[in-house]
Amino acid sequence: MSSPDPLLPHEQPLRPRTDLLTGAFFALFGLTILYLAWRMPTYADQKGEIYTAPGLVPAFYGTVIALLALWLVGRSIRRGALQPDGGGGVPPAREGYSNVRLALSAALGLFFVFVLLGHMPFWASSALFIFLFITLFEWRSEQTWPQRLRPLAIAAAIGLGTGIAVTLVFERIFYVRLP
């Protein structure tokens, strides 16, 4: 049997240095939680017992996260995180993966939530968001304007169709409130 590679491209192992930084972050995070939990009141003046103190459980979780994170730090150092190449050399570029597409998606999502939602009816805000999303991702600079008309019309139709359908289905049929 030709053994298939069980790892998808995004599942390739990380460099130990990345684990070191991740561990250091979570160790600091766990200790911060422990400190904040320590500062919470114990209600001893109201005859509160230590096991009902509001900070007890978060303090426990903070401690465990810090300890596990330190374990991660130790493990990454054993695997060579402190070596000049970070223990694994330069990771190979992921073919086809694009941070520009990621950033554009995130920016459009934020634009939808913070600019569009609540400032116009839901059907209009979702239609505009979907239209912009599709248009920007399907934009080809080499296309002429007449060539762009069809994709623009499709994007507008999908946007309007979704906005109206979601409003009708959620608000009118299932009585769900929309943002």
């Binding site: 049997m1 993966y97 597409r101 999502g109 979907i130 599709i134």
Partner: protein, 507 residues
């Protein structure tokens, strides 16, 4: 016996109304489409559809969600067979033999095997739900806070160590989930933890917005960053399942059904672990090992039966212990709570009819899945041709609606965004998501039982370790943690071997 049968009959009768059946059909269709589309998972589907069910009676609402869950796990195999891309993580195993079969011109046969295996798997698992749930539930009724505390801890630990990937990161993710669940007012003094005067945070982090963020928004970001999928295999032969494929591999079907259900019951492991374990067991026992990975009918049947049987399996601990067997089951459990049900051992006491209804739901969902397995071949091909640039903004809009609608707070949309970002970063750093979800869902249960246990014992921690079931659960938890440490695992293996090795005869 006759009483149980009449109860089952009544439960089926509940769902035999035109309006419920319409809901069943559209929910199954939506579930299969969600499962088939790479980037959309069963967990996300159940979380998004929870929104739609707010105004429904609880039986109808859970019926819709069960259909989406069952459908999404099945739908994932379509893209696995036709695109060589698993529609959901659960169907990754189906690509191994499904896609080679499609390349050999047998895409229709592969889909037939997938349909029959999945149908039989869910049926087998449902039979286990019907027989095991009352027994487990009765046992769980004797549990007290001490046992429930350990069950919650064990859930997070097992999900961390066995959910796939790095166990250490799994534990961190699990405890992060537990920590997030502590945000907001605590139960004893109504102290607002980590709120700092913000009334929205004082209300706590909503489970659904967080889940929609982790599984919806993060998926949108991951899908948009990844390369586009291409080439649908559009040459389809007959999709009617062959009786010979079922009768020839009946042992594989039973074995995979049992393995899948068992893995489903284990907290947080989910359908992907069930599929891989069933596949590995089938390969070990097969007389045609060499065909595995090259288009083996037996391999595909094992993977499909295993993943489908784990769906009912994952619901068993939800109903008996309030402990979800998988990430979608965790969302289903959250939906049950939203609809006023009380998952756990009291479910059988407070709403005994719901147990019969769940069995009826699974059987009905399985039958409708079989129906769609035959009729949804061509329409699914068209769905798979929809570019992600057109699909993902729609998903994002649905995520925003899902996060907002439960309490109508814009704050919940911000929570969705924050958790989407957290989910994306954690996945990039190889943190498994199942323990995080289990931590979020079990956090409240864990804290309440820990403090209640201390209150009952007057601050004495010994009952947590000395009561028989508590002691066993504590031991399993500790052993699970030790097992994930390579050095400790080696020592434990050596110790076990030494224990069972016979001493050489002397003299």
């Amino acid at each position: 016996m006759f009483d149980s049968l009449s109860q089952f009959g009544a439960a089926f009768g509940t769902f035999m109304t035109p309006s419920v059946l319409v809901n069943v059909f559209w929910a199954m269709f939506v579930g299969i489409v969600i499962g088939a589309l790479p980037g959309l998972t069963a967990t996300m589907g159940v979380a998004l559809m929870t929104t739609l069910t707010f105004s429904m009676p609880h039986t109808e609402a859970i019926m819709v969600l069960v259909c989406v869950y069952v459908g999404a796990i099945y739908g994932g195999s379509r893209s696995a067979i036709l695109l060589n891309i698993p529609g959901t993580p659960a169907s990754a195993c189906s690509t191994l033999d499904g896609f080679p079969l499609a390349r050999q011109g047998m895409a229709g046969r592969a889909m037939g095997i997938s349909t029959s295996g999945s149908w039989l798997g869910t049926l087998f698992g449902t039979l286990c739900v019907a027989t095991m749930t009352p027994l487990l539930s009765e046992m769980a009724l004797s549990f007290q806070s001490y046992e429930f505390f350990w069950i919650s801890v064990l859930g997070v630990v097992i999900a961390g160590s066995l959910a796939g990937g790095d166990a250490l990161k799994g534990y961190i993710a699990g405890f992060l989930g537990l920590l997030v669940a502590t945000v907001g007012q605590e139960p004893h003094y109504n102290f607002q933890r980590f709120a700092y005067g913000n009334t929205d945070i004082a209300g706590g982090i909503g489970l659904l917005p967080a889940l929609v963020g982790v599984f919806g928004v993060a998926e949108v970001l991951l899908a948009m960053r990844a390369p586009a999928y291409q080439a649908v295999y559009s040459k389809i032969d007959s999709i009617i399942p062959r009786i010979a494929d079922v009768t020839k591999y009946w042992r594989t079907i039973f074995r995979s059904g049992a393995i899948g259900t068992f893995i489903g019951i284990l907290p947080g492991l989910g359908e992907d672990a069930a599929a891989w374990s069933s596949y590995a067991a089938a390969k070990r026992a097969s007389k045609e090992k060499e065909k595995f990975g090259k288009g083996s009918v037996e391999g595909l049947m094992a993977a499909e039966t295993g993943e489908a049987s784990s769906v009912p399996g994952a619901i068993i601990p939800v109903m008996t212990l309030a402990l979800p067997g998988s990430a979608p089951a965790a969302v289903l459990m959250a939906a049950m709570m939203i609809h006023g049900l009380n998952p756990g051992p009291m479910l059988m006491v407070e709403t005994p009819q719901f147990f019969y209804q769940i069995v009826a739901m699974l059987v009905i969902a399985d039958m409708v899945k079989l129906f769609f397995g035959f009729v949804l071949v061509r329409p699914l091909l068209w769905v798979l041709l929809v570019p992600r640039e057109r699909l993902m903004p729609i998903v994002f809009v649905l995520c925003a609606v899902g996060a907002f609608s439960i309490t109508s707070r814009v704050f919940d949309i911000y929570i969705m965004l924050i958790f989407g970002l957290i989910g994306f970063i954690l996945r990039e750093l190889k943190f498994p998501m199942a323990p995080l979800i289990l931590g979020l869902v079990l956090g409240d249960l864990l804290e309440k039982n820990l403090t209640r246990g201390f209150v009952i014992s007057g601050g004495d921690p010994t009952p947590f370790l000395t009561r028989p079931v508590s002691a066993v659960l504590a031991a399993i938890t500790i052993l699970s943690i030790l097992w994930s440490i390579p050095a400790a695992q080696t020592a434990m293996r050596r110790g076990t071997r030494a224990l069972f090795r016979r001493k050489p005869a002397t003299g």
